[in-house]
C-alpha cells in the first residue's frame, strides 16, 4: 500500500518538474536572455546599471509611468464592476436571454484590438458621426484608450467572474436566510467572500492587460505616452533592445504585486464546493431581474454597436468620402500579398495553441493545486505561470529571437516554424488560462482526494474519474480562450513568423498601417466570424458536457 503512494508521489514530482521545465524554456530563459541585456550596452559590454540610470533620468519616464498607472486603474475601475454585475445577472438570476447575453459579453474577445480602435475613430474621430458626444474632447488620447480598453478587457473580467460566481453552495444561502439575514447582508457576507479570489484575479488581470497592451494606445493614443508605447519606441523605433528590456522589466512590477496579493488571498480562500455541497439555484425576483435585464441589454448594445461599426466599415468603399458599400475589401490580395493564406495559418496556429495549451496548462494547474508536497516547486510553477500576463508581447517576441536564434541553442530548429509561434502564444496567454483552471480546481473540495486516498484509489484515477469530468467545462473554456486569443495576437508573433507562417492578425496591422483600413476591418470581421463559429461549437460541446458530467450539480 505504501509503495503505491510512493510511486504516485514520484510521478507527481516528475510531472511537476516537467511542467516547470516547460515554463522555464518557453518563458524564464527567453526573458532572462533579454533582461540580461538591460545591463549591457549595444556592443554587449557589461555596463551594470548604466541603462537603468539613463532611463530613470529620462524626463518623459515619470509621465509615462503615471499615465500607465492612472489609465489602467481607471479602465479597471470601470470594467470590473460592470463585468461583475453582468456576470452576476447571468449566473444568479432567472432573467431571460441569459445565453444570448453570455455570448454577446464574450464578443470583444473575438475581435482584434484594432477593431474597436477603428470603430471608435469612425464614431468619435474628427469625421466621426457621433463626435458630438465627446463635447469637444478628442478621442485621440486617454478617452479613446480607456473606452477601447474597457471594450477589450470586458470579456476577460467577465469570464473570470462568471466562473467564480457560477459555483456556490446553496446551503450557505439557506443558512444565512434562516438566520434572518437580508438580501444585502447575504450579498456582503456570502456572495462577495465566495468570489473574493475571482474578484482579485479580475482586478489584476485587467490592470496588467491595460498596462501592457500597446496596440490600442499605438492607434488611438495620440500623443499620450504609456510604458507600452515607450517600449515600442525603444525596440521598433530605435532598435535599442537594451533600453526596451529596462522598460519591460519596469512593467513586470504590477505582475509581481499581483502575485503577492494573489498568494495572500488564496490562503484565505476556502473551497466552496465541498463534497457535501448543494448547487445554488437562483429564484425569480421580478424587480431585480428586470433591472439587471436592462443593465445587460445596455452593455450588450454598446458592445454590438462597436462591433457593428467595424463590420460596416469593412464594406465602405472609401471612408469618409465615398460611403457606398462594396465587397472588394474582402479580396485581401489587393492589400496584402499573403491574402487568405495568412488566415489559414492563423486558424492552424490557434487550433494547435488551444489544444496543446489547454492540456499543458490544465495539468500544470492540477499539479499546483491538487498534489501534496514539493511546496517550493509548486510555488515556483505558480509564480512562473503568473509572469506572462505582465510581459508585453513585444518583449516576449524579441526575447524569443535572442533565446531561440542563438547559434548555441539546441532548440534553434523551431525558429521560423509554426512550432515557435505555438510555443510563444501558449506562453503569452498562460496566466489567464492557468487562473481559470486553478479557479475551477480550487472550488473542488480536497476531500475528494483524501477519500480517494483512503480508498486506495490512485491520484491519477481520481483525477481522471472525478477531477477532469468536473473540471471539463473549465477546460473547454480554456480551450476557447486560447483559441480566440491566438487568432488576434500580434505583438509577440510579429517578430517570429517565417516566410510561410504569416498570420491574419499581423496582416490586419500591416493593412491598417498602409492605409487599407477597410481591408483591415474586413480581415478583423473574418476573424470575429471564425471565433464566433468556434464559440457556437464551444457552446454545443459545453451543453453536451454539462449533461454528461455536471448532472451531480442538480439535486
Amino acid at each position: 500500500m505504501f509503495k503505491r503512494f510512493d510511486t504516485d508521489a514520484i510521478f507527481q514530482r516528475l510531472a511537476l518538474l516537467a511542467v516547470a521545465a516547460f515554463l522555464i524554456v518557453v518563458l524564464a530563459l527567453p526573458l532572462g536572455t533579454l533582461f540580461e541585456k538591460s545591463f549591457r550596452d549595444r556592443d554587449g559590454v557589461w555596463v551594470g546599471l548604466a541603462n537603468w540610470v539613463r532611463y530613470l533620468e529620462t524626463p518623459s519616464l515619470v509621465g509615462s509611468l503615471w499615465n500607465t498607472i492612472w489609465v489602467s486603474a481607471l479602465a479597471t475601475a470601470i470594467v470590473v464592476p460592470l463585468a461583475f454585475v453582468y456576470a452576476y445577472a447571468l449566473t444568479r438570476t432567472t432573467m431571460r436571454w441569459r445565453g444570448l447575453f453570455r455570448a454577446v459579453g464574450l464578443v470583444p474577445i473575438l475581435a482584434p484590438s484594432l477593431l474597436p480602435a477603428i470603430s471608435l475613430i469612425y464614431l468619435f474621430g474628427n469625421q466621426g458621426f457621433a463626435r458630438w458626444m465627446l463635447m469637444g474632447e478628442t478621442v485621440y488620447g486617454p478617452i479613446g484608450i480607456v473606452i477601447a480598453q474597457v471594450f477589450y478587457c470586458f470579456p476577460h473580467a467577465f469570464l473570470i467572474l462568471a466562473t467564480a460566481l457560477s459555483i456556490a453552495d446553496k446551503r450557505h444561502y439557506e443558512a444565512a436566510s434562516v438566520l434572518g439575514a437580508g438580501q444585502t447582508r447575504i450579498f456582503l457576507t456570502v456572495t462577495l467572500p465566495g468570489v473574493k479570489y475571482g474578484l482579485v484575479s479580475a482586478f489584476f488581470v485587467v490592470f496588467t492587460l491595460v498596462a501592457t497592451d500597446f496596440g490600442i494606445p499605438k492607434v488611438i493614443g495620440g500623443r499620450f505616452n504609456v510604458l507600452a508605447t515607450d517600449i515600442y519606441k525603444q525596440v521598433v523605433g530605435q532598435q535599442n533592445f537594451e533600453m526596451g528590456a529596462v522598460v519591460g522589466m519596469v512593467l513586470l512590477l504590477p505582475a509581481m504585486l499581483a502575485f503577492a496579493v494573489d498568494r495572500w488571498v488564496a490562503k484565505r480562500q476556502v473551497a466552496l464546493l465541498t463534497a457535501r455541497a448543494v448547487p445554488y439555484e437562483p429564484k425569480p425576483n421580478a424587480i431585480r431581474d428586470r433591472a439587471l435585464f436592462a443593465f445587460c441589454a445596455l452593455i450588450a448594445a454598446c458592445i454590438l454597436t462597436l462591433l457593428g461599426v467595424a463590420v460596416w466599415a469593412s464594406f465602405i468603399q472609401y471612408w469618409p468620402w465615398n460611403t457606398a458599400l462594396t465587397l472588394r475589401h474582402y479580396v485581401f490580395s489587393n492589400a496584402d500579398a499573403s491574402g487568405w493564406e495568412a488566415y489559414w495559418n492563423s486558424l492552424q496556429m490557434s487550433a494547435l495553441v488551444a489544444t496543446f495549451g489547454t492540456a499543458a496548462i490544465g495539468v500544470g494547474a492540477w499539479l499546483v493545486e491538487k498534489t501534496k508536497g514539493a511546496g517550493i516547486l509548486r510555488g515556483a510553477v505558480h509564480l512562473l505561470a503568473m509572469i506572462p500576463l505582465a510581459v508585453p508581447g513585444l518583449v516576449l517576441g524579441i526575447a524569443y529571437i535572442f533565446f531561440f536564434n542563438a547559434p548555441s541553442n539546441p532548440l534553434g530548429f523551431v525558429y521560423g516554424t509554426m512550432a515557435i509561434l505555438v510555443l510563444n502564444t501558449i506562453a503569452h496567454f498562460y496566466t489567464v488560462a492557468h487562473l481559470t483552471s486553478l479557479q475551477a480546481l480550487k472550488q473542488m473540495d480536497p476531500e475528494f482526494e483524501s477519500v480517494s486516498a483512503s480508498l486506495k484509489v490512485s491520484v491519477w484515477r481520481t483525477a481522471w474519474r472525478v477531477t477532469l469530468p468536473v473540471a471539463s467545462p473549465a477546460a473547454l473554456d480554456v480551450w476557447f480562450y486560447m483559441f480566440v486569443n491566438s487568432m488576434t495576437t500580434v505583438s509577440a508573433v510579429v517578430f517570429l513568423y517565417g516566410p510561410f507562417t504569416k498570420l491574419a492578425s499581423v496582416s490586419i496591422v500591416n493593412m491598417d498601417e498602409a492605409g487599407f483600413t477597410a481591408s483591415a476591418a474586413a480581415m478583423g470581421v473574418v476573424v470575429v466570424l471564425t471565433s464566433g463559429f468556434a464559440k457556437i461549437l464551444h457552446s454545443l460541446l459545453a451543453a453536451y458536457l454539462a449533461k454528461r458530467t455536471q448532472a451531480w450539480r442538480a439535486r
Binding site: S60, G125, N126, T138, R223
Partner: protein, 348 residues
Amino acid sequence: MIDIFKRGLRPLAVAATAVAALFAAQAADAQQRTRITVYTALENDQLAPYKEAFERAHPDVEIAWVRDSTGTITARFLAERENPRADAIWGLALTSILMFEQQNLLAEYSPQGFAALKPSFRDAAAPITWHGMDAFAAAICYNSAVARQRNLPPIRTWADLLNPAFRGQIVMPNPASSGTGYLTVSAWLSIMGEAGGWDYMSKLHDNVAVYTHSGSAPCVQAARGEAAVGISFDMRAAREKTQGAPVDIVVPTDGVGWEMEASAIVRGTRNMAAAQKLMDFSASLAANQLYARYYNILAHPGATGAAQNYPAETEARLIRADFAAIAAMRERVLAEWTRRFDGKSAPR
C-alpha cells in the same frame, strides 16, 4: 497475433512510403530551385510583381518574403544578428542598411550594372555592400476638403505650418518611433541649422495635434479627414490620392529630407550565388522600370518614374543628405527631441 500486426502495419507502411515520396519530390524540386529568404519593407502590393519579375528572369531561384514595417524588420534583423536568417534584403530604408553595414552584417558585392546607377545610389566606400533602388521624400498631405471647411491657408513652405490657423490641425510621426519622422526632423536641422531647427519645432509643437508611431499614419489620417495636415512621405501621399482622397501633395519649396530604398546581401548566407543574382536583378534597368511604377526618383538614370499622382517637383527639392552623418547624430537628436516634446500633454 502476427496477422494483427501485419494488418495494422500495412497502412502505416503505405503512409510512410507516401511521405517519403513526398519528401523526395520536394527535395528534387528544391534541387532545381534555390529558395532564398528575403527581408523587406516594400509595400505589400509590390511583393507579387517584384517576385514574379525576378523569378521570370532567374527561374532557378525562388523568393520567400518576410515583409513588415521598416522598424519591425530592422529590429528583427538586428536581434537575429548572432545567427542571421535572411539571405538578402531587397527594399529597406538605407538608414537601416547602414546600421547593418556598421555592425558588419552585410556581405561585400557590387552587382552587375552597379556603375550605371546614379552616384548617390551607390555605396561609395569600400567594401561595397549595398546599392539604392529608389527614393522617397518627406511630403505634406493637405486635405483640401477639410481645409475649405475650416478656412485654412495654403501651404508652400515649412514655415507656413507655424500659422496659428493650423493649431491642432497637424499630425506628424514621432521621430523616436518612425524613420520617416526622423528623416523629417533631421532635414529641418540641416535646412534651418541646429538652433533654427529646434526653434522651428518648438513653434510647430503648438500646432501639432498628434505625434503618431508610424510614418504612414499622418497621411492616412489626413486622407480620412482626421487631420487637415499630415507630415508624411510622397509615396504614401500619392497612393492616398489615387485611392480617391481629397488630398493635395505639398512638397515644401525650402527643401525636403529624403530616404532611399536599398538592397544588400546578408553576410554568411548559404545561398550566395542566388543572392547575387537577386542583387544583379535589383540594380538592372528592368527592375528599375518596375520600381518606376511606384516611385518617381530612381537609381537607374535610364528609368523614368511613372507613378500615379506623384509630385513632379520633388527631385529638385531634395536636400543634400549625408546619410552617415544623419545616422551618427540620431541618438543625440532623438534624446533632445524627446526631452523637449515627448510626454508633454496635448495643448488645449
